[in-house]
């Protein structure tokens, strides 16, 4: 969604803020004629381009590193990065994250290594979008997207489950559960040595 949008300017008002650093020195009240200049300012502004964004119809892109909705990422072969360690839940100052880990079993391998996140919930009524969970994540499984339209009308709908948070399967990814890439261990995965799925892991998604 965010890719279609183009910013109105690259500058987020920083250059302007820099310019306006000139100190205010004049503490005397302005003369009457100078005060009348204010009328000219407001009159002039009427003919300027309106700064309002017609929001639901027109959407402005967020800042690049805007803290939006979370996403659970995948390895290039489709296995989940989350290992169910709960560090995110411990880091969370608002107690918004609930994680239940479970063991990967033969025939039910969701992530490389021993453990995977079986239940993963983020309560967006509590989340303050501080990003401490992202800093805590040891496998870079949890990141934040730029999506900010998170309003809803019930409490239940605002608790996002694992299915809601998991990143999409990209081309070449095999939907888990499936075995790890042949002749690798979890270390290979974390070092980024697994770059694609192997035919023995299953039929990859193609598009």
């Amino acid at each position: 969604m965010a890719d279609e949008l183009t910013p109105r300017s690259d500058d987020f008002g920083l250059a302007k803020a820099d310019q306006s650093k000139t100190p205010i020195t004049n503490h005397e009240s302005a003369s009457f004629s100078k005060q009348l200049l204010g009328f000219w300012v407001t009159f002039k502004t009427m003919f300027k381009k309106v700064n309002t964004v017609q929001y639901p119809e027109v959407k402005e892109p967020t800042a690049e590193r805007f803290h939006g909705r979370h996403q659970l990422n995948r390895h290039p072969d489709g296995l989940e990065k989350c290992i169910g360690c709960e560090l995110c839940a411990w880091a969370c100052p608002a107690d918004a994250i609930y994680v239940e880990g479970a063991d990967n079993k033969e025939g039910a391998q969701f992530s490389p290594g021993e453990r995977y996140g079986k239940v993963y919930q983020i309560n967006y009524l509590r989340c303050i979008f501080c990003g401490l969970c992202i800093e805590a994540c040891p496998t870079r499984a949890l990141t934040m997207t730029n999506e900010y339209e998170l309003a809803d009308n019930t409490r239940g709908k605002l608790i996002f489950e694992k299915d809601d948070l998991l990143g999409p399967l990209r081309a070449g990814m095999v939907p888990p559960p499936h075995p790890m890439y042949p002749n690798t261990d979890d270390g290979n995965y974390y070092r980024g040595e697994v770059t694609e799925s192997h035919p023995s892991q299953g039929i990859p998604k193609n598009d």
Binding site: G38, T42, T45, K49, V50, N51, T52, Q54
Partner: protein, 407 residues
């Protein structure tokens, strides 16, 4: 035939229709002016304002009105019920009534009947408007008092003090117009302006009137009665639903009414702008209605412009301005105007008139330069010197140095 004679011949149905027309025009103008104000102020702040309901958000005020009407109508337990209900009605009725004496058009053909669009023409029309405006203050002060709550009471008292103070200046500014027109009837004042507008001849009166009409209508920068930061909503804090809508309506009708009065007294009323008098002959009497409303809406724009530009005044500054600047100034101005008037009526030689004007100008310059010198002296005296101790009296700080030394 004069306007008064024309109106005197109106049959009952014409009077009823005229009343209806004036009422409908006021309500319509209110709805449109609420929208226009929000749009214009928005543009002055580089926003776009309401643009969702209808084309350009034109129906916004209408929808807001419907919303207000459908809301729950609360009457606080501590309120004096009868007066609480009566107050918005007084307020609204009074401001509609002011329109009765405003001539909206010249002579027109009203469904086959020659008349003017003016409900009635009494010989003291302008005094009637001032009297009605004072009755409107009762709505405000009673609303504040009957709410049985602190902030509305403060707001109501403030706003009635304000309206009464500025009414004095307003009334004084009109005196010059009466002297020049030789009449208090609105239609005759309009007729007296066929050569020169009083806004030109009596420019100081015009300025005083425009300032005091902003104070009179409780509008920014004089909207102290509803200073949100200090008084919540002012006198209408406890009002909701339709009763609140009535106050809202009366505020805007009031703006239109004082603008209409200003148009009538200073800008030649329904007559065309200078140089465009031919439009009246070509397009007929009804076209003068357009001229009238162009002028009124011009005033309305000034109201909005003021609101978009100026911050609210402090209450004491506001009262000082009213009593110590506007009123003395307009009293002095009335003296000058009446002297000039008497001189020209008694055919005084031109030399004397010019000498009089010259001496007035001299006195004015002397006074202003004296005031300026005083200001400079004040500024010198008030110069802040950098010192450890503040050079203004401060309450003793416990455990301060002096206390440790003395006690």
């Amino acid at each position: 035939m004069s306007n008064a004679e024309l109106i005197g011949q109106d049959p009952g149905w014409v009077i009823a229709l005229k009343g209806l027309f004036i009422f409908a025009a006021c309500v319509f103008l209110t709805i449109m002016s609420v929208w226009a104000e929000r749009r214009i102020v928005a543009r002055m702040q580089q926003r776009s304002g309401p643009n969702r309901v209808g084309k350009f958000g034109l129906l916004q005020a209408l929808v807001d009105g419907v919303k207000l009407a459908l809301k729950e109508d609360l009457i606080p337990k501590a309120a004096d019920r009868v007066i609480f209900v009566l107050a918005p009605i007084i307020s609204t009725t009074a401001c509609f009534m002011a329109f009765a004496v405003i001539p909206l058009t010249g002579e027109v053909n009203f469904f086959g009947h020659q008349t003017v669009m003016q409900l009635t023409d009494i010989s003291v029309g302008v005094l009637y408007v001032l009297a009605i405006a004072s009755v409107g203050v009762y709505g405000i002060v009673l609303a504040g008092w009957s709410s049985g709550s602190t902030y509305p009471l403060l707001g109501g008292l403030r706003s009635s003090a304000q309206v009464i103070s500025y009414e004095v200046a307003m009334g004084l500014s009109l005196v010059a117009v009466f002297i020049y027109a030789g009449s208090m009837s609105t239609s005759e004042i309009v007729a007296a302006q066929d050569k020169w507008w009083y806004a030109v001849i009596l420019f100081p009166s015009f300025i005083i009137y425009t300032i005091s009409m902003v104070g009179e209508t409780n509008r920014a920068p004089f909207d102290l009665a509803e200073a949100e930061g200090e008084l919540v909503g002012g006198f209408h804090t406890e009002y909701s639903s339709l009763k609140f809508a009535l106050f809202f309506l009366s505020e805007y009708v009031n703006i239109i009414a004082v603008s209409a009065l200003a148009t009538t007294l200073f800008l030649g009323g329904y007559h065309a702008l200078p140089g465009l008098g031919f439009t009246e002959q070509w397009l007929g009497g009804w076209f003068t209605l357009a001229w009238f409303f162009v002028k009124v809406l011009g005033f309305f724009f000034v109201f909005v412009w003021l609101r978009g530009t100026l911050p609210r005044l402090r209450y004491d500054q506001f009262m000082k301005f009213g009593w110590k600047v506007l009123i003395p100034f307009s009293l002095a101005w009335i003296m000058v105007v009446s002297t000039l008037r008497v001189m020209s009526q008694q055919q005084a030689p031109r030399v004397i008139i010019i000498a009089f004007i010259f001496s007035i100008a001299l006195i004015y310059i002397a006074i202003t330069s004296l005031v300026d010198r005083q200001k400079v002296n004040h500024a010198k005296a008030a110069k802040v010197t950098n010192s450890e101790e503040p050079n203004f009296p401060v309450p003793a700080i416990p455990n301060s140095r002096s206390e440790q030394l003395n006690g």
